[in-house]
Symmetry: C2
Subunit: 366 residues, 2 copies
C-alpha cells in the first residue's frame, strides 16, 4: 500500500461588516463596488420587493443585471430557482468576477446566497435584507440553502456575506403580519442574551410597532450584535449557535403540522412559550417571568397558544426529525432567566423527558 | 451609520490521504468507517461501474444505501442528478452524520462530491476513483461540480475528500478508449513537473498499455504526488493550479467544437501538441522535444492533429470563453522543457498573440 498525504492549507481569520442606517439603499451598489472592486454586480430579488419600490431605490434607475424571483417565499425556495438564477447570470455572460447582491427577505437571502456559494465554485454575496426577520437573523451568519421536496434547507452551504447593508427604511413597506412575525426574532435574542434589551422591548413597544426609525435602528443594531457574537463563536453550528434555535424545536413542528400556514415568527412565538413551560417543568425559570414573555409576544400580536386542531402526537413525530435530535430524541434550548441561556455539561441543547414535552404541548393546546 | 463587525474564524490546516494498492476495494468501506466513525455510508456510483462488478466488490454483497447514476457520463452531470442523489439520501433517512462514497470515474466523483458538499450544508466524501483519468486527476484536489445547459461546472464547490482510495485493479475492466484517454493526464503531469516520469512512460509504454499492476501503481503514485503538490500550494486555483490546465485552452475548444464526441483526454492530447507548437512559436522548447511528446501520445493511441472539419475561427471563439481568459483573450500554460513549466512575471498562464495561435491551429488542421 502506497500512501500520499495531501495538505489542505489553513484559511486565515477574516471579518465582514454590518452597516445599519436609513435612507442609504441608493448608495449600496457603489459601496459594494468599492468594497469588491472590478466585479460585475448581479441582483437577486423577488416580485414583492420590486413592487415595494426597493429595487428602483437600489439601482437608482440604472440598468443592472438581475433575477426577480416569482412566486415569492418558500414556494420558490428550491433547486429550480437556483438554476434560473444561474441561467440568468450566464445569459448576462457573467463569470467568477461577479458579486451577487441579495435584496429581500429571508428566502431571497437564502437563495441568492446559495446561488453565489455554488456559481463557478463560489462568488461573493452582499446581503441587503429588507424584512424584520432577515435584518434580525437570516442575513447574518452565512447560512444559505434551498429546500428539497422532503425537507427544509436539504441543500445548502455556509457562505459568509462580504457585507450586510441594513436600511431600516425598507421596513416601512412591509406587510403588517410579516413585520410582526419578524419581531419574534428580536424577542428571542433578548431572551437568550440581553435582559436590558427585553426591558427596552417591553417599554418601547409602541415605538417599535409604529416602526419608528430610531427604534428600528436600535433593534437592528442589538439583533446584529447578538447574532454576530453567537455566529463568530460557532460559525458552523457545532454547539453554541444552537441557542439561536430557542423556540425552534416546537416552532418547526408547529410550522410543519400547520402546513406552513403560520409564518416562521408566529410558530417560533408559540415555540418560545412552549420552551418556557418546559423549562419550568424541569425547574428553570418561574411563572412570573414567563408571564412577561407571553405579554410582550401578545402585545406584538403573536400567538402564544397552539392553533386549534393541532394534535400532540403529530407535533412529537415532527420533533423527532428536528436537526438537534439525537437518536430521534429532540433536544431543547432552555433559559435560566430572561437574558440567560441554560447549559448542561457544556451543551446548549438538552434532552427533556418525553412525558414533560407531551404534557406541555397538551396544556398549550387546551 | 452604525457599524458592527462579524469575525469569521480561521480554519486550521488539515490533510487527507491517498491510498494506492490493488485488490483492496473490498476493504474500503471498513477503512472509511474507521476514518470517519459513527457515520452512515451512502454510495454514489454509475451503471457502468455496477456492470463491471466494482460495486459488488466494494460492498462484498452487503446492503448499503446507494444511488446508481444512469445514463453514465456528462449527459447526467447536471442539477437534476444532484436532486436524485439527495432524494435517495433523504428517502434512506440520512442526515448530517453521513459519509458519501464516490465510486467511479470523473463525472461520478464530480457529482458525488458536489452532492456531499451541499447536502445539509456539507458532509464528508471519500473518493474511490475507478478510471485512469479519475485516478490521475479528478479524484484529488477537491473540485466538484455539475454543468448548466450553458457551461461545464457552472455549479460547484471546493470540497476536499476525507480520503482517496485508488485500487488499480478497477482499471482492468476499463474500456480501451477510456483507458488510453486517461493516460493523457499522466503525460501532462510528466511534461509539467517530472522529466524522469516522461522517460519512464517512454520506456515502459508496453507495460503501461498492458495495464501491468506494478506499472499502474507507479503511475497512480507519481500522478498523485504531482497533483497533490500542485493543489496543496494553490487549492482554489488562484495561480499555480492553472498549470494543470496545460493543453486545456485548445483542448476544451476542441471538445466544444467536436460536440464532445472526443473524450477529454483525446482533446487534451491535441491541446498539448498545440501548446507545444505555440511554445515553439514564442521561442520556448524545440522541435525535437515536441517530436518526443507527439511520439508518446501517438504510441498510446491518442490523436496529435485536429480532427477533420474543425474550423479555426470556431476554435478561437470557444477559446475566448476559456476560464483563464482575461478580457476574452485566452491565456496558455507553456513549457520551458519537458518537466518544466514556463512562467512570466509570476504568472503560470500567459497571453500569446492571436495570430500565433491562429497559425498553429491552421497548421494542426492541415
Amino acid at each position: 500500500m502506497k500512501e500520499i498525504e495531501v495538505k489542505t492549507p489553513a484559511r486565515p481569520a477574516g471579518s465582514y461588516k454590518i452597516l445599519i442606517s436609513h435612507g442609504m439603499l441608493g448608495k449600496v451598489l457603489s459601496a459594494a463596488g468599492a468594497l469588491l472592486p472590478k466585479r460585475s454586480l448581479f441582483i437577486v430579488t423577488d416580485a414583492n420587493v420590486v413592487a415595494a419600490g426597493h429595487l428602483q431605490t437600489l439601482t437608482r434607475g440604472k440598468k443592472v443585471n438581475k433575477y426577480v424571483i416569482e412566486p415569492c417565499g418558500e414556494e420558490s425556495k428550491n433547486l429550480g430557482t437556483i438554476a434560473k438564477i444561474v441561467d440568468a447570470m450566464e445569459a448576462a455572460s457573467l463569470g467568477r468576477d461577479t458579486t451577487v447582491i441579495a435584496l429581500g427577505g429571508g428566502t431571497v437571502g437564502d437563495m441568492a446566497g446559495f446561488a453565489a456559494a455554488i456559481f463557478k465554485r463560489g462568488v461573493p454575496v452582499v446581503q441587503v435584507p429588507t424584512t424584520t426577520v432577515a435584518q434580525a437573523d437570516s442575513a447574518i451568519g452565512g447560512k444559505t440553502g434551498v429546500d428539497s421536496s422532503q425537507s427544509k434547507n436539504a441543500y445548502g452551504a455556509f457562505h459568509h456575506p462580504s457585507a450586510v447593508f441594513i436600511d431600516v427604511d425598507t421596513l416601512k413597506t412591509l406587510d403588517e403580519r410579516q413585520f410582526k412575525a419578524g419581531l419574534a426574532e428580536s424577542v428571542k435574542h433578548a431572551l437568550l442574551a440581553d435582559a436590558e434589551y427585553f426591558e427596552y422591548l417591553d417599554k418601547n413597544m409602541d415605538e417599535v410597532l409604529a416602526r419608528d426609525p430610531d427604534a428600528m435602528e436600535h433593534l437592528a443594531e442589538v439583533n446584529s450584535r447578538i447574532k454576530a457574537f453567537v455566529v463568530q463563536h460557532d460559525p458552523e453550528e457545532k454547539n453554541l449557535r444552537r441557542i439561536l434555535n430557542y423556540g425552534h424545536t416546537v416552532g418547526h413542528a408547529v410550522e410543519s403540522a400547520t402546513g406552513y400556514s403560520l409564518l416562521h415568527g408566529e410558530a417560533i412565538a408559540i415555540g418560545m412559550v412552549a420552551a418556557g413551560k418546559i423549562g419550568m417543568a424541569v425547574g428553570l425559570g418561574d411563572g412570573r417571568k414567563l408571564g412577561r414573555v407571553e405579554k410582550v409576544l401578545d402585545r406584538i400580536g403573536l400567538p402564544v397558544v397552539m392553533p386549534k386542531g393541532i394534535e400532540t402526537p403529530v407535533l412529537l413525530e415532527a420533533m423527532s426529525r428536528d436537526k438537534k435530535a439525537v437518536s430521534k430524541r429532540p433536544r431543547f434550548v432552555l433559559l435560566e432567566d430572561i437574558g440567560k441561556v441554560h447549559s448542561k455539561d457544556g451543551q446548549w441543547a438538552v434532552e427533556v423527558p418525553e412525558e414533560t414535552v407531551e404534557k406541555v404541548l397538551a396544556e398549550l393546546s387546551s
